[in-house]
């Protein structure tokens, strides 16, 4: 028996448990990868707390998170509700909606970089065609954040819709029949039955979106990367695309600050955990009222 689980656990110990524990040790050290690490106590964390760039990255990450998560959930629930009623071509639709999620973030970030290019991009060409002025997508901080949010929304809406759809399909049809007899229209039964009964699935989707959204990296890194070597991976114009994990990557691997990088990683982890618990409470907490009522 142990021979069966040993290969996995040896690898898991070496490449899962050990690095995580070691990164905690590293966060109390100052080390650039060469020579001997120096023990510096909590000074990395003190520095993190007063590091303006880190807090800028926190702010950027939350702006992107809010701009992407709420439109994404709203659209995904709408799509799921429609797919739940559509009988024809349902599989074809689901496959089409899932395609954005399997295309690589890198390729899509490269593509979106061109679509949202300031001067010749398709997005601005479309705006001009209907008489609107250019939007400086990639040369202002907010523009970059909106572009990243659109990219995340594009890649994850279909995935979430498929999951929400499965949640809707697990709700029995009897309850809708009963509601129909009581004269509830489709909109009413959607808001008063589907949504409350769907709460566990919405919770799952929200938690996954929070965890992945707060740790977005590739979108920002590829969209804002340049060939320039001065201050690499700093997040583009006004550092608007500097997410928390991109800042971690920059400090750890552009500047070889292993100790400080590890401290950032733990800071990010803490923020993600706290915020996941908050969004959990936000959805799950209200269920008890409903059940007792």
């Amino acid at each position: 028996m142990y021979a069966a689980i040993a290969p996995f656990f040896l690898l898991f110990l070496a490449f899962g448990v050990f690095p995580t524990a070691y990164s905690l040790v590293l966060s109390f050290q100052d080390w650039n990868g060469l020579g001997a690490p120096e023990w510096v106590g909590t000074s990395n964390f003190e520095r993190l707390f007063t590091d303006g760039t880190f807090w800028l990255a926190v702010r950027n990450t939350f702006v992107i998170f809010v701009l992407s998560t709420f439109p994404m959930l709203a659209i995904a629930i709408t799509i799921a509700a429609m797919l739940n009623n559509a009988v024809r071509y349902s599989t074809a639709f689901r496959i089409a909606y899932f395609v954005p999620n399997i295309t690589s973030v890198v390729a899509m970030a490269v593509l979106f970089g061109s679509i949202f290019s300031d001067n010749f991009g398709l997005a601005n060409a479309a705006l001009n065609a209907v008489g609107l002025p250019d939007i400086p997508w990639l040369s202002t901080p907010l523009g970059i954040q909106v572009t990243i949010a659109i990219l995340i929304t594009y890649q994850w809406t279909g995935y979430n819709a498929i999951i929400l759809l499965a949640g809707m399909q697990s709700i029995g049809t009897e309850i809708y029949e009963a509601a129909k007899l009581d004269g509830a229209g489709p909109i009413r039964s959607f808001f008063w039955m589907t949504l409350p009964l769907l709460r566990p699935t919405i919770l799952f989707v929200l938690v996954i979106s929070t965890i992945t959204g707060l740790q977005s990296f590739t979108e920002a890194q590829v969209l804002t990367s340049t060939a320039s070597t001065t201050n690499p991976n700093s997040g583009g114009a006004g550092q608007g695309g500097l997410t928390m994990v991109l800042y971690f990557y920059q400090q750890a691997f552009s500047y070889s600050r292993f100790g400080y990088g590890a401290a950032i990683a733990w800071g990010v982890f803490l923020i993600v955990v706290v915020f996941t618990i908050i969004s959990w409470r936000f959805v799950a907490g209200r269920r008890e009222d409903k059940l007792s009522g």
Partner: protein
């Protein structure tokens, strides 16, 4: 249509009760509107891939004229050829295939062995080990990245493909997923029968477990392959040799190094997506069903 209808009157509920076909029609929004919205959504989902093809098959000058070209052009092969001459794209493609296939194979073997043990056998520390697996699985990847890089430096694996393959083989999600699958797919009676036949653990794994969980392995295989194929941060960190890259790192590099030549860069991006799209579409029907199942459980 009748969505804002006011609440119940007795007559109305009697009417709806006796006219099932009519009430059914009322209970859904107008079908045609729904299909139009769904189709628009599907077009939005697919359009970026189409646009990728348009850009990859035109000269950069044709893409950025006003109004832009909306149809694929004649330059696809020139742009693709340019990708292969500018950087070692063929090598990157081969590396990505090697990494994604090896990771998938290792994950399927190691995870099905461990999941089988966790699902059907009792042994000391079983619960503890399973809990540790789950907890670590939930820790974010960037916590481990720096120590992982230091480990790779000590092993002399920096820049080598095994730096991508070996750590990815310890995939806790697969154990979680397969354990669930095995618990519901393999009845205990079958296990008892195979014991009476004198089968040991590995015989049972190979002859009883694997054939019965083939659909579960199929999902995990496609999922692992896609994840390994698209992985970016870790390859970017550890593949320091510019002549040994994966597709994702190579594509990102094309963008930052030759950003002006859009036709070529998009040809590279298209090539990095295409093989995966084929793999996905082959197993799509089942995959899209399974990913939802995993979430609902």
């Amino acid at each position: 249509m009748t969505s804002t209808r006011l609440p119940v009157t007795v007559t109305e509920s009697i009417v709806t009760a006796y006219e099932p076909r009519r009430s059914q029609r009322r209970s859904t929004p107008p079908q045609i509107v729904m299909y139009i919205v769904l189709t628009i959504g599907a077009v939005v989902s697919i359009f970026p891939l189409y646009w990728l093809l348009v850009m990859a098959s035109n000269a950069t000058g044709d893409i950025y004229k006003s109004p832009p070209t909306f149809v694929p052009g004649p330059r696809l092969f020139e742009n693709v050829a340019m990708v292969f001459t500018r950087i070692d794209f063929a090598g990157a493609l081969l590396n990505t295939i090697i990494v994604a296939s090896s990771v998938t194979f290792l994950v399927l073997v190691l995870d099905s062995l461990a999941a089988f043990a966790f699902a059907k056998f009792d042994f000391p520390l079983r619960r503890t080990l399973f809990t540790i697996t789950l907890v670590t699985f939930m820790l974010p990847m960037q916590l481990a990245v720096i120590p992982q890089f230091i480990t790779m430096t000590n092993l002399g694996w920096v820049g080598e493909l095994q730096a991508l393959i070996v750590p990815a083989a310890a995939n806790a999600f697969g154990i979680f997923w397969l354990r669930q699958y095995i618990v519901s797919a393999i009845p205990d009676e079958l296990m008892d029968a195979s014991v009476l036949d004198g089968a040991g653990f590995f015989r049972q794994w190979f002859a009883v477990c694997l054939p019965l969980i083939r659909p579960g392995l199929g999902f995990l295989g496609i999922y692992t392959f896609i994840t390994a194929w698209n992985d970016y941060m870790w390859p970017l960190v550890v593949l320091t040799d510019p002549h040994r890259l994966t597709l994702q790192v190579a594509t990102a590099q094309l963008k930052s190094a030759f950003g002006q030549d859009y036709g070529m860069v998009m040809a590279g991006a298209l090539l990095s997506v295409l093989p995966l799209l084929v793999v996905f579409l082959l197993g799509a029907r089942q995959f899209v069903g399974d990913i939802a199942k995993g979430a609902i459980r």
